[in-house]
Amino acid sequence: MAKYTRITIDPITRLEGHGKIEVFLDDAGNVEQAYLQIPELRGFEKFCEGRPAEEMPQITSRICGVCPEAHHLASTKALDAVWHVEPPSAAKKLRELFYNAHMLHSHIAHFYALAAPDFVVGPGADKKDRNILGVIAKVGLETGQEVIKHRSYAQKIQAMIGGKATHPSCGLPGGLSKPITEEEREKIESMALSLVDFAEVSLQIFNDVVLKNKDYVDLILSDTYSLNPYSMGMVDNNNHVNFYDGMMRITDPEGKEFVKFSAGEYNKHFAEHVEPWSYLKFPYLKNVGWKGLVDGIESGLVWVGPLGRLNAADGMATARANKAYQEMYSTLGGKPGKATLAHHWARLVELMYAAERLLELSQDPEITSTEVRAIPTETPTEGIGIVEAPRGTLMHHYVTDERGMIRKANLVVASAHGYGAMNISVDKAAKGLIKGGQVDEAAKNMIEMAFRAYDPCFGCSTHTLPGKLPLVIRVYDKTGKKLMDLEW
């Protein structure tokens, strides 16, 4: 039997949820297989059962501190479906405005605090410099101040609509709890104008620091960081990216549309696979099938998040973002984009879209309408709500009794949708970067980069086995024989 050496990268720096990457080496010191593992949160369904469904937007926004607004709105949309109620147009626009502000603050934080250290400071730089402080040392204090200012703008806008920024309380079945005033609209418009300029600066920084550095472009396009799964994202009527509402569109690894479906049809298209070594299940396309942790047209794994969304769309609905979209695909060699690290670039294209869309909505005369709620009149039953969270597609599914009490709640979060692809990316990077048993700090970080591109956050994605206690994680060889137990 081959001898295996285990290398553990723990904790994954700059990432929520205490993930762990395990790399298995063979006799020659090359990588046999690398896995990504995560802890499990327990008892979510049980916690929700018997509660009034209206509490779900508040409860689910507390599951995770990183994207409470995404959970809040996915949950609110699920409640619209549970009560069979259509929110008024102004409420939809206001929700979308709120949500674009959320995307802005999340994408700004990810790019400057989590992605930029690898590129601006350098993937092989000393660990103590590979953080936002190192980034600011390179790009200047003024840019640092702009980052803080614009992130704060996005928070303020969310607070105006949501009641408070981090745990919003605005979402109700059929609409929102309150409209905004003309004075608030003016403030939002002025911040949105500034955010558009800031997005332009961010794209320029990416252009100057990353795209003008041939080594980085080569790294982005290298096979080590390449993947070709299906892609999923929400689109509007023109097949342009939308974060808040629309149809789910999936394109295949050749870039052709595979399927388009509404939120309510989600369960017709996705199933979940269980692996013995992972607490988190792997969602995959039912009509393609589970073929293991592999990419390609035969395997039902999907890319979600920025590059998944952009791959699954035909373009962006706003002018500057669409220009950035075209430029990105021209450098990547056309669609679909296969470069895992291009998620960072796609995130900046989305940053521009979110800023432009925010501006558009803030200038819409209907946005200050007081018609922000349609009172539900139907008996509540069951419903699914989907939004595009910063990290990808987020799905909430509730079943209630006739009084609207939760009978069943299931969430499939963005990092779960992308879990299969993430695992392949980590495995490929490990195989490309570790040779002959040599693993230095730079190689470790570069394996993490494969993973960090997804901006994953597992705090909320691990409740898929409610009530079950953690088991020992075991590793098997190709014949199914257990090689070792992994410490947790």
């Binding site: 904790p11 994954i12 720096t13 700059r14 990432l15 929520e16 949820g17 802890p39 499990e40 949160l41 327990r42 008892g43 979510f44 049980k46 916690f47 409860i59 507390r62 599951i63 995770c64 501190g65 990183v66 409470p68 934080a109 605090a113 989590l114 953080n131 936002i132 402080l133 600011i136 204090l141 640092g144 101040q145 803080i148 992130r151 704060s152 928070q155 981090t166 745990h167 956050c457 705090g459 409740h463 953690p470």
Partner: protein
């Protein structure tokens, strides 16, 4: 008058992770009106904004250390932050980095920062209740925070 803020960090529906929130809830009715008491989920950028402008800041958070005894209370300063569950939350920047960033950018940060970290048992189960040993030290931590404010 010096301005003070107490921040209870944590997730109120994830068992002991909510100990900071629970303490903030109690302190809200115990402190004088000059002291701001808030709950927060994330450290990093958000905390930087939250603490800016105050003279004194007291943070209360859950912690899990290797071999730690559940219910132990640690009094820390910003230089020994790295291990707290929430303060080391790394999706965002951690508090230590946030603090340095704030100083670098000229943001007015508190002159006094005290962190109370409580060794906890369970931060992975959805529940609004603390485990008994953690629950038992809540009054003691409240007292320690109040002493720090006087």
């Amino acid at each position: 008058m010096k301005k003070s803020i107490v921040v209870g960090l944590g997730n109120p529906i994830l068992s002991d992770d909510g100990v900071g929130n629970k303490i903030a809830e109690i302190l809200k009715i115990q402190v004088s009106s000059e002291v701001e008491v808030v709950e927060a989920t994330l450290a990093g950028f958000n905390l930087l904004e939250l603490l800016a402008g105050y003279d004194t800041a007291i943070l209360v958070d859950a912690i899990q250390t290797k071999g730690g005894k559940v219910g132990d209370i640690y009094k820390l300063n910003k230089d020994d932050l790295a291990f707290s569950q929430r303060l080391a939350s790394v999706h965002d920047i951690n508090l230590y980095t946030a603090w340095q960033l704030g100083e670098q950018l000229g943001i007015k940060l508190p002159d006094k920062l005290v962190i109370f970290a409580i060794e906890v048992e369970d931060v992975l189960t959805f529940s609004e209740n603390l485990t008994p040993k953690v629950e038992a030290v809540v009054p003691k931590v409240c007292e320690m925070v109040l002493n720090e404010l006087t």
